[in-house]
Subunit: 131 residues, 2 copies
């Protein structure tokens, strides 16, 4: 996602396009894992922590961002709804995350429900810990 697209995304939601918002979208877009509010704050120098929270609230409200936990890790994490399809496997022993490519969800249907997205987490043991 480029800056232009972020700009349009914000405008289409009726949100003003500020440098703080673009910065946070950029960070979330390039992150390879969900981030905590604190991590996002560290990556946006010059932005108040309360502003980070307010921006995340707006983005949650507009379904641009999703709030999540990572099993066995502390805290609340945020990620782009668009990135949500990056599924991962979590090792119950060493707590490491491993991104996985497979997606067994395609073509799944549920009665009386229109599916627009999904999230999958696998739990188990990685190669090193299963020994």
């Amino acid at each position: 996602m480029g800056v232009m697209e972020m700009n349009e995304l914000l405008q289409s939601c009726g949100l003003k396009c500020t440098k703080q918002r673009l910065c946070i979208l950029e960070i979330l877009n390039s992150a390879d894992k969900p981030l905590t509010a604190e991590e996002i704050h560290t990556l946006t120098p010059g932005t108040a922590l309360s502003t980070v929270y307010r921006i995340l609230d707006k983005l949650l409200e507009k379904n641009i961002v999703i709030k999540t936990t990572i099993p066995l890790s502390d805290g609340i994490f945020y990620e782009l709804t668009a990135n949500e399809h990056k599924h991962f496997a979590i090792c119950l022993a060493c707590h490491k995350l491993k991104y996985i490519d497979i997606c067994p969800i395609h073509n799944t249907t549920v009665s009386d429900f229109t599916i627009t997205g999904h999230k999958l987490e696998l739990y188990g043991y990685c190669r090193e810990c299963v020994k």
Copy 2:
């Protein structure tokens, strides 16, 4: 899960079997959705909130309980790892949860990873909101 089984579960983890722990396991076992620490506390009269947190920490540590968030709901929720296989669909409009029976994960394998459990959430719109 009956009281006897809970008893054995605690003992097998080296945890003493107290009435507070049995009560919390009972509550989680009979809950039809993940619960917050506050909700659990309300359902365990006579137990200090700090004790609820300490018990949940122990149960998390032993992988008996899992911490989670529910998209579009506030707070942190706890559920039995054993109940985790109750997948659900979340309506992005009305925020209601709908439990689903299907499980497209069976027989899934990932290289260098031994799968012992999984969690699936579907996002979309329920019958009432999709109109």
